[in-house]
């Protein structure tokens, strides 16, 4: 498995090459360099996955945990050190496949989408940087290596959101994304520090003895780590950066803000899962409720947004909520017991990455065709963009949970796990799944059906995108159709043992009925040229509608905290205090010294009489003192 080092080295090299010499290259060459290196990475990742899973299980029925590379990067103490290396186990191999596939598709797609853009080379350089960082994150051998790459994906996300750096919205969005996730990372960092101090290791497998001694410390550490994960994975209330992050180029949204980076938080929880489930079950259940609330919140906001990328962004937040719920409802590591959720969550991560990337890339084609993100400018596009239409529909059906598309299988497992945890959670998640189907088909009808915007089409007829853009769509659509049939439980499960997925037809039947009903409702409301029902509802519940449209004022709340509280109530007074109190005190000392000098100056007036007088008085005083004592 020595070749796995190339999986990290190739994107890193291509980043360096493009960053240093990119400006000397033509667009085509830069794109080819980036895409070829990614293609090689994808091949290597697939090869790794094949050889890893076909090598078979060990005697205890588990897949082996391999560490083909590891070296000490930064030593602290003999037991604590940051290592850099590659760790292969079922979930990291799975993530290698997900990340490299989506990244390759986005690299190819961007050839068409970013054609002729200024800074094309820079774009590919950043994509390489991101891919490098994301791959480094998933193969991390220890929690600190994860943090290192965690920060790197954060910065590449920052750079890519701000790709159009002359646009004020893009600048603000990139800044917001970085600062909000940095704030969450503070929790992550403190969690790591606590973990490192009490476990005396940064690896994922502390010694039994330490674990037994830890007591309440470990839940705290894991809880703080989840704060970091919640920031990256846009859990409420740290989600506010993700919708704004849509200011970046659309392929970037597909790669970073839908398929890979935003699920890093889920991956983190999955990575630490054995510790969560054994030592901090309450924290795990808190994760579930945070996930459920986020899923509900984001789904309700997604129902009323008009910008198609915003709808998809909130849908992403909601779906990540599903994954968090899936991990959170686990009560045991045994999939037959209470550990089904782990497998379900990772399965959903995999299927979601594919169909959500597909949705975003499809949205990119649409935006490319009509030059707008707003649904008002669309409508009736199915005649002009057949490939986009069909693939988009496939993805919508998948996310809505209609069999036999992949989303059905993964979501069904999640719902089964939820019902196993508590019926309340099961019903809540089923309802949210229904909302998902509703808002996705609202989006679908809004784009492809309904009234055509003739005025716009007169000026510029929408057309299907070039092959570089449609190829990834078709590829991802095929994966979306087929991925559900992968016997996922055989590869990934909470305790590592093979597990065969059985459909629970009670749960599956309910969720299919709910999804179909929601689709029917959406069809009734949105498939026609006019939408009287929707308008009537919006007018009737105008306050609720506006509140949902403004995302329940979460951004305003954050703005209040940052601008009013941190900026005005802390920084401004601190700066004022510095200049007017501390510095003035120093000036006062200087002035005091000067003033003392000035006031003594008259004594040195050069008149002999005065000196004689001082001299005589001095003698008298000294004599008096000597005589008296």
């Amino acid at each position: 498995m020595d070749y796995t080092i190339l999986i990290l080295a190739l994107p890193a090299l291509s980043f360096l090459l493009l960053a240093l010499a990119g400006m000397k290259m033509s667009h085509r060459v830069a794109g080819i360099v980036g895409t070829l290196s990614l293609a090689a990475v994808t091949v290597l990742s697939y090869a790794t996955a094949c050889s890893y899973f076909t090598a078979g299980r060990m005697e205890d029925g588990l897949y082996p945990t391999l560490v083909p590379w590891n070296f000490e990067w930064l030593p602290f103490t003999p037991s604590l050190h940051i290592d850099m290396g590659i760790l292969l186990d079922p979930i990291s191999v799975l993530m290698l496949v997900v990340v490299s596939t989506v990244s390759l598709m986005v690299h190819i797609y961007s050839f068409g989408y970013m054609k002729g853009e200024k800074g094309f080379q820079r774009y590919y350089a950043f994509l390489s940087l991101f891919t490098f960082a994301m791959l480094g994150l998933v193969v991390a051998t220890n929690i600190f290596q994860m943090y290192v790459f965690w920060e790197l994906v954060g910065v590449s996300s920052y750079l890519l959101i701000g790709f159009y750096y002359t646009k004020p919205e893009a600048i603000a969005a990139s800044k917001k994304a970085f600062i909000v996730t940095r704030f969450a990372d503070l929790g992550f960092l403190i969690g790591i520090l606590i973990y490192g101090y009490y476990m005396q290791t940064f690896t994922f497998t502390p010694s039994e003895e330490r674990l037994m001694q830890a007591g309440m410390v470990l839940p705290w550490a894991l809880g703080l780590m989840f704060v970091g994960g919640a920031g990256k994975s846009a859990m409420f209330p740290l989600h506010i950066w993700l919708p704004d992050a849509m200011e970046g180029p659309t392929p970037v949204s597909a790669l970073i803000h839908a398929a890979t980076m935003v699920v890093a938080g889920v991956y983190l929880v999955a990575r630490m899962f054995p510790l969560y489930v054994d030592f901090a079950p309450h924290v795990l259940h808190a994760v579930a409720w945070v996930g459920a609330f986020t899923a509900l919140y984001a789904a309700s906001v997604a129902c009323v947004q008009s910008d198609i990328k915003r709808v998809l962004a909130f849908s992403t937040i909601s779906q990540i909520g599903f994954m968090m719920v899936a991990l959170g409802v686990c009560t045991d590591a045994d999939p037959h017991g209470g550990g089904l959720g782990y497998m379900a969550g990772m399965f959903h991560l995999f299927t979601h990455a594919m169909f959500k990337a597909l949705l975003f890339l499809g949205a990119g084609c649409i935006i490319h065709a009509v030059h707008s993100n707003e649904m008002e400018m669309m409508g009736g596009l199915r005649r002009y963009m057949p490939v986009t239409h069909i693939t988009f529909l496939v993805a919508c059906l998948a996310i809505a949970g209609i069999p036999p598309f992949s989303g059905f299988f993964s979501k069904d497992e999640i719902l089964t796990a939820c019902f196993g945890f508590s019926p309340a959670m099961g019903w809540i998640m089923t309802a949210i799944a229904g909302m998902t189907a509703f808002y996705m088909f609202r989006l679908y009808y809004g784009i492809f059906w309904g009234k055509e915007n003739r005025e716009l089409h007169a000026r510029h007829t929408p057309h299907e995108s070039p092959l570089a853009m449609t190829f990834p769509l078709v590829f991802l659509a095929l994966v979306t159709v087929g991925a559900g049939f992968i016997p996922f439980g055989r590869f990934v499960s909470a305790n590592g043992h093979a597990y065969d997925i059985h459909l629970d037809w009670g749960v599956a039947g309910t969720s299919i009925v709910v999804a179909l009903a929601a689709i029917a409702l959406a069809t009734w409301m949105y498939a026609r040229d006019r939408q009287p029902v929707a308008d009537m509802l919006a007018a009737r519940f105008s306050r609720l509608h506006r509140a949902a449209y403004r995302r329940f004022y979460m951004d305003e709340a954050w703005l209040f905290v940052t601008k009013r509280v941190i900026f005005r109530c802390v920084s401004v007074p601190v700066a004022w205090f510095d200049r007017h109190v501390i510095d003035q005190f120093m000036n006062f000392l200087a002035w005091g010294t000067n003033a003392a000098g000035e006031s003594l100056q008259p004594v040195q007036n050069g008149r002999i009489q005065a000196y004689t007088w001082w001299f005589l008085s001095g003698i008298i005083v000294l004599t008096a003192v000597l005589l008296l004592f």
Partner: protein, 494 residues
């Protein structure tokens, strides 16, 4: 002759060469040759030092030598280096070398400028090689005085005021320092001024109680210890580019180095008594500097307050008194020196073109001067602790080390200090978004040009150093960690 003496001899020869120079090219030639030679020497020293260490040399200081200078007070010219001094010498050499290029086109009185600049460097190098308290103090003063003239003559804005303020405050610190040094000398029996010998004596607790704060404050003023940091914003704002670089990059490190090597090493009991008090002050420095930086509008003020925060972290980590945290402190000195020098160099270059440092008047520079802007972004990312650049390595070492102190007080200070990583991101990204991104609103700025070759060279050298330390920290970390050991064991004997 001792190899270390070359670090003083070369600058002295440079002074002679500069004095005899007749033309601008000769001045530049002397500077480049001299500072290049110093850089080579520093690199050679680093290699030789690691070689000797891995060959099993286990004395505390290597390359030691001593010449009696003034016998009645036991003043000697004694030199010697350990891992800490080696990396500091390396840092100083890099900054002096790049500083030369950053002031390539400086006018007027170029020759005089470089004379003072070199004199300052002499002091800096001399300080780091000295092991004799008096010699150390003398070099310390040699490094401080030229600052007054460099800012007062070649500075900008309220330069006379700033120069005076800076000099007076630092001199005030020196006064404490001198008292402290004499206290140590007599406290240790008045037999020797050599640090390595004093440490074997036991200074009475009462003496330590009185003189530890004097020495720590004396050096702390230079290390921008709250509330004695206010010379820094004004001083940096008025100083010419290379002087800011040298001052923030190296001179402020004299403070941290002195606190560690003199105050804490020689007076461990004093450190135990006063440690918590100063730890509170440094924690305040870290957060306070960061918050102050958020609302500044002058680029140099932002960077000066950022330095208060980052240098605060150096003293903070030293006072945590664990081996890892002290290693982190030295790494932070190294890292902060490099990235702040880069920052000040870039600010100077931008200011040289736009003639303003007010962030409200700058915008869209990325399109106009891409090279400088990219450099600025890299410096910013290093400052906010991005992995792969030097800041991350240093900060993480500091935090991991500080976490080894498990009592509530130290834990609380550590958590408060870690919040600075968020605030740092706020002020860095605010500036980057404001001045580099967006569209340029000032038509005058559209005509400006990107960096010239000398500027590019300086920036590239520093970026390579910052990235080099950030990507391969193991060498610096292990060299420092080994040398921190004796000092920490001195502290933990109590």
């Amino acid at each position: 002759m001792n190899i270390l003496s070359l670090f003083v001899l070369i600058p002295l020869l440079m002074l002679l060469g500069l004095w005899m120079s007749r033309s601008l090219n000769q001045v530049r030639g002397v500077m480049v040759a001299g500072s290049g030679l110093l850089l080579v020497l520093a690199v050679w020293l680093a290699v030789a030092y690691s070689g000797l260490r891995s060959a099993g040399a286990d004395e505390e200081m290597l390359f030691t030598a001593s010449v009696t200078w003034f016998a009645p007070l036991h003043i000697c010219y004694s030199v010697g280096v350990d891992g800490i001094s080696v990396v500091m010498l390396l840092l100083s050499a890099v900054i002096v070398f790049t500083g030369t290029f950053a002031s390539w086109k400086l006018k007027p009185l170029t020759k005089e400028y470089f004379l003072w600049f070199t004199l300052l460097s002499t002091g800096v190098f001399g300080f780091f090689i000295s092991t004799d308290l008096f010699t150390m103090f003398m070099f310390y003063e040699v490094a401080l005085i030229p600052m007054y003239l460099l800012i007062g003559v070649w500075g900008s804005g309220r330069k006379e005021y700033s120069a005076m303020k800076l000099t007076l405050m630092l001199m005030g610190g020196s006064a404490f320092l001198l008292i402290g040094i004499l206290g140590i000398y007599y406290g240790a029996g008045g037999e020797t001024m050599n640090i390595l010998e004093i440490v074997k004596e036991r200074i009475p607790t009462e003496v330590q109680r009185i003189f530890f704060p004097a020495v720590f404050l004396g050096f702390g003023v230079l290390g921008a210890l709250f509330p004695f940091h206010t010379w820094s914003p004004d001083g940096h704002a008025s100083a010419p580019t290379a002087v800011s670089m040298l001052h923030a990059g190296v001179l402020m490190k004299l403070g941290g180095y002195g606190c560690f090597r003199v105050a804490m090493y020689l007076m461990p009991t004093g450190a135990a008594i006063w440690g918590d008090f100063f730890l509170v002050l440094t924690t305040v420095s870290v957060v306070y500097g960061a918050f102050s930086a958020v609302v500044q509008t002058d680029l140099k003020y932002i960077n000066a307050y950022s330095s208060v925060s980052h240098c605060g972290l150096v003293l903070f980590a030293l006072l945590m008194m664990t081996r890892v945290s002290a290693t982190g402190a030295i790494l932070q000195m190294l890292s902060h020196g490099l990235m702040t020098a880069l920052f000040f160099a870039l600010i100077g270059m931008i200011y040289g073109r736009t003639h303003t440092r007010d962030i409200r008047q700058l915008s869209g520079l990325m399109k106009i001067m891409p090279f400088l802007s990219v450099g600025y972004v890299i410096a910013g990312l290093a400052n906010l602790g991005l992995p792969g650049l030097s800041g991350f390595v240093a900060e993480m070492t500091v935090f991991v080390g500080s976490f080894e102190r498990a009592d509530l007080f130290h834990r609380a200070c550590t958590v408060i200090a870690t919040t600075s990583i968020v605030i740092t991101a706020v002020y860095i990204l605010r500036v980057v978004g404001r001045i580099l991104y967006g569209t340029c609103r000032n038509p005058e700025h559209l005509k400006l040009t990107d960096a010239t070759w000398d500027e590019r060279f300086a920036v590239i050298c520093l970026v390579v150093a910052v990235a080099g330390l950030g990507l391969s920290p193991w060498w610096a970390s292990s060299v420092i960690s080994a040398s921190v050991e004796p000092i920490i064991s001195q502290l933990s004997q109590l």
